[in-house]
């Protein structure tokens, strides 16, 4: 098995130590950081995502794989930065103002990180202004909002409006989710995407950042 395939295998098995060691080995063998990232790490996470969707593996397996991905990224990051290769995307994430539910949002964050995104988690009870300010200051291309209360959902519309008001909508996309939120609601408020669960959120963020 090539070292790239071995990394991928280690990631799928959720073995962070093995992924870290093998990534180091791959670098020493002269493989390019870009190749290791896309072929082994992102490639591995894609397999994990598919197996999860097919109910072949469960959430803890995905989280272990995400942890292994993270371990590989730790080794790769300095080289990627040196080579001027940007991260696959930055996402500002939070539960909207008035909402203290954060379990779903945290899961979305973990899986986004696992898929290679840089996640700026603003926590819960986040004011509209703070989402937009953070995205602008940190150069994020996606704002992800979570709401679990019907009473806090309207705040999502405020964030979407604020992005438009500040004329940032060409470079900052919005995604919403949470138990009371739906595809239709997302469309109504003009959000760019809706995610029905954490894995789906990752897919939607990927399509927002590659669009």
């Amino acid at each position: 098995m090539s070292v790239l395939a071995e990394i991928k295998d280690g990631l799928v098995c959720g073995d962070d130590e093995r992924v870290s060691e093998l990534t180091q080995q791959a670098i020493e063998q002269g493989l390019s950081p870009q190749e290791i990232l896309s072929e082994s790490l992102i490639g591995g996470m894609t397999i994990v995502g598919e197996r999860f969707k097919e109910h072949e593996i469960f959430l803890p397996d995905v989280l272990l794989a995400a942890k292994a991905m993270h371990a590989g990224m730790e080794v790769l990051r300095p080289l990627l930065i040196d080579a001027g290769i940007p991260s696959i995307g930055k996402v500002v994430l939070g539960s909207v103002q008035g909402d203290l539910h954060d379990i779903g949002k945290n899961l979305v964050g973990i899986l986004l990180k696992g898929a290679g995104f840089e996640v700026i988690d603003l926590g819960n009870d986040v004011a509209p202004q703070s989402f937009v300010d953070a995205a602008k200051e940190r150069g994020a291309s996606v704002i992800g909002m979570s709401a679990l209360l019907t009473t806090t959902m309207p705040t999502m519309a405020k964030v979407v409006d604020l992005v438009k008001e500040r004329k940032l909508d060409s470079r900052i996309k919005t995604i919403v989710g949470g138990a009371p939120v739906s595809e239709m609601f997302a469309r109504e408020i003009g959000a760019d995407a809706y995610g029905f669960d954490a894995a789906n959120a990752v897919d939607r963020v990927k399509s927002l950042t590659t669009a």
Binding site: H55, F58, L59, P60, G98, L100, I103, G104, L107, L149, T150, T151, T152, P154, A179, P180, D197, A198
Partner: protein
């Protein structure tokens, strides 16, 4: 004998409580409310200002346990006793607070409006086995800042049963208190005859938010009963083992007890919760999982061991429609909770992980509750001994249909569910339209709505409630509330 189900030995309960106590004393609990943190510090709790953790010693827990009432009663709109929350008494209350309502016509969900809420009031008023109402969902046709108080207003205007409710913010408590004062007249009368129970949730693991902890304090200051709704999610934000989840539930609930009893010793509380296992396949919190129900029954045993009245979110289902899953999960929950002696059982009407109410399901669940309430009355001899005279009568007449013994005990011994639950023979069932459970339940919903008689609230109370709610609505720019246009 009243049948009882138990999952824990006394020895295991003691171990769980003792581990929970050491967690409170050594790891502490994070409380995001400065007022409460300093109140607890005044009572001798050590506070780590950096992490916001408060370390609650055994002495403080004991003080709270000593102060907490062993039981309390609830009273309806007119001050009549409806609930004796003590011992193994059980009462049912609809699940709350749903995000959606299941629409009968489309079999799909929609966001509730005032009309849905008033229909719900009419239905719950006619359901005899569900002793209280709950503010079961949030009408979406009013400003979001009044949607929690508005549902309590509608409840008090339309149904005489006591209310299980809660607020979404600190501020909304004031109007929700004032509405109750309008009904009872004075603070003292409200304290003497509680009309509502407020659900207040710690955040797993081992944390209290500003809003929910302040709700506990505000309720305590007015002797308004609180049910603690601790939600360890096993395997996610709580240990995967049921025992580990129980340790966490105990620590979180005891911390809530400490907040209320140190604020106002003797204020009524329910040792409650809404724990769930976490389904790692679907990222959901199944209320219909058997393990969820086992945790519910077990923490109820711990509450009883501590001498406190109990509550649980249990007689409900994760099904999306009124189907066999809905029936089986709700029945299993109702049965187990009643056998365990959970004093206030929340759940009827609820589907989809506590997020959808169906009026048809409420009707079906009411019948399930009726059966369960019959079951826990158990088996008792009723002029059955000596047996010979009754059997002589049977042998003589070849039936006991009109015997004195039958007439005296028929309604006591046999509970007759219906019209949702079907017991007709096939031909009669066919003759009467051959309709399904869902259709029968729907007919009953329509009948209850048509037959509804509003509670005869004195005019001055009615206008006080209305003017309080109108004033609150105007604060948020609403000049006319939708209930006027029904």
């Amino acid at each position: 004998m009243r049948p009882v189900v138990k999952f824990l030995s006394d020895e295991l309960i003691e171990k769980i409580v003792s581990e929970a106590r050491s967690i409170l004393a050594t790891l502490g609990i994070e409380i995001h409310n400065n007022g409460i943190v300093s109140m607890l510090a005044d009572h001798g709790a050590r506070v780590d200002t950096g992490s916001g953790r408060v370390f609650i010693t055994d002495e403080i827990v004991d003080k709270a346990l000593k102060a907490a009432p062993r039981s309390f009663k609830l009273f309806d709109l007119f001050g009549r006793e409806t609930h004796d929350l003590s011992g193994y008494n059980v009462h049912f209350t609809p699940g709350s607070a749903a995000i959606n309502v299941l629409d009968y016509a489309t079999n799909d969900i929609h966001r509730p409006t005032t009309k849905d809420y008033v229909d719900y009031m009419k239905v719950i008023s006619g359901l005899g086995h569900i002793a209280s109402q709950s503010t079961a969902f949030i009408p979406g046709d009013v400003h979001q800042n009044i949607s929690d108080s508005y549902r309590l207003f509608l409840s008090l205007m339309h149904c005489e049963k006591p209310v299980v409710t809660g607020t979404f913010t600190i501020d909304a408590f004031n109007i929700m208190r004032d509405l109750q004062l309008a009904v009872r007249g004075t603070k003292e009368e409200l304290a003497a005859k509680p009309l509502t129970v407020f659900s207040c949730c710690p955040t797993a693991p081992l944390k209290w938010s500003d809003v929910t902890s302040q709700n506990v304090v505000d309720c305590a200051l007015h002797s308004i009963p609180v049910e603690y709704i601790s939600m360890p999610l096993s395997g996610f934000v709580a240990p995967v083992t049921l025992v580990g989840s129980l340790v966490q539930h105990t620590a979180e609930t005891l911390s809530g007890l400490v907040i209320s009893q140190l604020t106002n010793p003797g204020t009524p509380i329910l040792y409650g919760g809404s724990p769930a296992i976490f389904d790692v396949r679907y990222e959901t919190t199944p209320m219909g999982a058997v393990e969820t129900m086992m945790i519910d029954c077990a923490y109820n045993e711990i509450g009883k061991y501590l001498g406190l009245p109990t509550q649980a979110y249990i007689a409900l289902s994760d099904a999306k429609r009124l189907d066999a899953q809905a029936g089986s999960e709700s029945s299993m929950g109702a049965t187990l909770a009643a056998l365990a002696g959970v004093n206030n059982i929340s759940g009827p009407g609820m589907l989809d992980f506590e997020s959808c109410i169906s009026l048809e399901k409420l009707v079906v669940d009411n019948e399930i509750c009726g059966e369960v309430l019959r079951m826990v009355r158990g088996i008792e001899p009723k002029e059955d001994f000596p047996a010979i005279p009754l059997f002589e009568e049977l042998l003589k007449d070849q039936h006991l249909l009109i015997s004195k013994h039958t007439r005296k005990y028929l309604k006591d011994e046999h509970y007759f569910p219906g019209p949702a639950i079907d017991r007709a023979n096939r031909s009669r069932w066919q003759e009467e339209g051959g309709i399904t459970l869902r259709e029968r339940a729907h007919e009953q919903v329509n009948k209850l709505i048509a037959d509804y008689v509003p509670p005869s609230l004195p005019e001055d109370v009615r206008s006080e409630l209305t003017s309080l709610m109108d004033k609150e609505a105007r604060r948020y720019g609403m000049d006319r509330l939708p209930h006027y246009d029904l």
